[in-house]
Amino acid sequence: MSFNEFINIFVDIYLILILLYAIFIMSSYLILSCLSIIELKSYLKKNSFVNYQILLSSEYAPALSLIAPAYNEGMTITENVKSLLSLSYNNYQVIVVNDGSKDNSMELLISTYDLIPADQAYDAKIPTKNVKAIYQSRNAAFKKLLVVDKENGGKADALNVGINIAQNPYVVCIDVDCILDRDSLLKLAKPFMESSTKRVIATGGVVRIANQCIIKDGRLEEIHVPDKLLPRIQVLEYLRAFLLGRMAWERLDGLLLISGAFGAFDKEIALLAGGYNTKTVGEDMELVVRMRRYMHEHDLPYTVSFIPDPLCWTEAPESFSIFKKQRSRWMRGTIETLWTHRKMFFNPKFKLLGLVSVPYWTFFEFLAPFIESVGLIITFIFIALGMVNWDSFVILLLFVYFYSIMFSVLALLTEELTYHKYAKIKDYLKLLEGAFIEPFHFHLMSVFAALVGYYEKIKGTHGWGEMTRKGFSKK
């Protein structure tokens, strides 16, 4: 075989593989979005007859323990805790875990909430770093609040402390700097009461981007689309992921991820599964996968629920450096979770989870950036060798480009038909503009950040890295 023949065969095989991969990934997105829309429509129909207020007055409403880990949140902690204490729900406690903050978070909490050491022993069902003290308020108005001061051990360790201390059967893990919808707990608690045949082991809600939104007294007052390109495209990305992706996985009962920003778990199963894994930076996904794996391995009927209502609003990175840190961490978390649970990969014992969900995440979340980068490199080599048919190349680019725009516009229409949070048509135009720019801007950044994630994983980087936030606009 001559060199030229070898090259030709290589190119043919490469092209067929890339084409198959592209068609597979694009059609899977479309299938998932169709399933999502069907599920969303059904949810909204049902929800129009739901009266969440009955949970407020019912002694049978599930008792919840909110766990909010805090590390150097001194700037906003007292206000954020205040907003957690004023959520619409009766039967809940708030556990703030100060994860060895170096700032004055603890002093602020003690003085603002009149805290005194609580007469409560710490039972470490899940091993954690040392707990220095547990505080409760002298003021009856804050009787729901418990504050734990512990040695620094990372977010997962702080959440484990919260799970160990929680007195209620369901734990709600939240990021202390997120803005929660006032009724978010009512909505999150409902799925736990809805299944009599399968145990609901976890529930999650939609997370939205709050950059440039106006916040008043810890509540969202006005919703805007950010002017800055990076957070603006993230709005679009979150709409696609939550409205057109996760609802489909909910319908298939193959959801692997409940966002760490806001998710509720059955405490008993979380404890039996061993709590959060402190050795991974993707502790939120890892816990869901491990809880599911536990249920499968013990042959227990279960489900994981997901609510499409926007319950939690968070601040997205506005600078590339922070964005890169966040996305590389997400990639490391994905790799660590998939590697830890590699036994599930194409394992029929885990049914849909093993045969579809885990392989999907492996091929389309973990491998996609790698395949794209290889594709880019090979394209440059083809260009350098003069092997590129420019007509076909441009048509291929336009094919991918317009598919990406179509998918974003579908997400926008879904938002318009469902939650309609962006009232002004100007906001939609801003998002549409983002959709046109995204493939040349945001997408490349995401791929680069994911490659950094691969590199950091190979290098053995641990920890989150410093994540600075700008803070919300206040009224």
Binding site: F49, N51, S392, V409, L412, E416
Partner: protein, 281 residues
């Protein structure tokens, strides 16, 4: 297979495939965005119509409510009553007002609801293929105290659709108090906790003085119905039902029901003792 490979290998299909796909994606994108624009325009149009109709509806209903004006006195608006949006708005307003008024005012609204033929709209909804429209019809009939609908609502409460069941049972309770749920003792489907809480809430909203026959639920073969009965007895503090709970404890073989019944009985006894203590003092 060979032909297919040949077809793939000669690559003639690639360009047309990509080009037609691009045309398709562009067409779908434009259609989807146009749909957003059209939806918004429709919403605006409906809002304008609502703005136009609201003062008229308020005028009609205030005359009906406070001056007992009959439907026949509003013949000037006959044409408007044939408009779908107007009728829907009128229905919503009547239902809202009825929730806030009782006595003669509520009766005036009920008469208007019947005379204007809105009751037929509600009945039509009951026959819809879509469960959510049925639910709307049920809520309207129950709110307007149309007792004749009770039989149809009992039938619907046996549906396998959970939401329809909840809405129908709540409507039965609204129309017939706790007697409205006696038929549940023969219910086949299991009630989850959410459904039970909805029924409990409907019971609490009703007239507590007229709560009778809840003990009948304790005789059901459906454990979720027994559990509902226990929760209802406990939540409404019906200490006079304690002997029925005791009977259940003696008869049941189900561990969960036994535990729940014991808890309820203890609670009733404590409650009863407390009331006796207050009476004695």
């Amino acid at each position: 297979m060979e032909e297919l490979w040949e077809f793939y290998y000669n690559k003639d299909w690639i360009k047309p495939f990509l080009l037609y796909s691009i045309y398709f994606f562009v067409f779908v994108s434009i259609t989807l965005f146009s749909t957003i624009v059209v939806m918004r325009r429709l919403k605006l149009r409906n809002q304008k119509l609502e703005k136009r109709f609201t003062p008229i509806i308020e005028h009609i209903l205030s005359l009906n409510l406070f001056e007992s004006a009959f439907f026949s006195e509003f013949s000037a608006y006959e044409k408007l009553f044939r408009n779908g949006i107007f009728r829907n708005l009128m229905m919503e307003s009547i239902i809202n007002l009825h929730q806030n008024y009782d006595g003669t005012y509520a009766e005036n609204l009920e008469n208007f609801y019947m005379d204007s033929g809105l009751i037929n709209d509600s009945y039509k909804k009951l026959n819809s293929e879509h469960w959510q429209i049925k639910c709307k019809g049920i809520n309207e009939l129950a709110e307007m105290n149309v007792a004749e609908a009770f039989g149809a609502l009992v039938k619907m409460s046996k549906s396998s659709n959970k939401i329809l069941t909840i809405v129908a049972i709540n409507a039965c309770i609204k129309l017939n108090g706790s007697n409205g749920i006696r038929h549940l003792a023969r219910h086949k489907h299991s009630f989850d906790l959410w459904t039970q809480l909805n029924i409990l809430d409907a019971l609490k909203q009703g007239n507590l003085a007229h709560i009778q026959g809840l003990e009948y639920l304790l005789t059901s073969k459906n454990n979720s119905v027994i559990s509902l009965g226990l929760k209802a007895i406990s939540s409404l503090n019906l200490s006079e039902k304690a002997p029925f709970v005791q009977e259940l404890i003696d008869d049941t073989t189900n561990e969960e029901i036994l535990t729940e019944a014991k808890t309820v009985l203890n609670r009733l006894i404590v409650q009863n003792n407390r009331s006796l203590k207050y009476e004695f003092q």
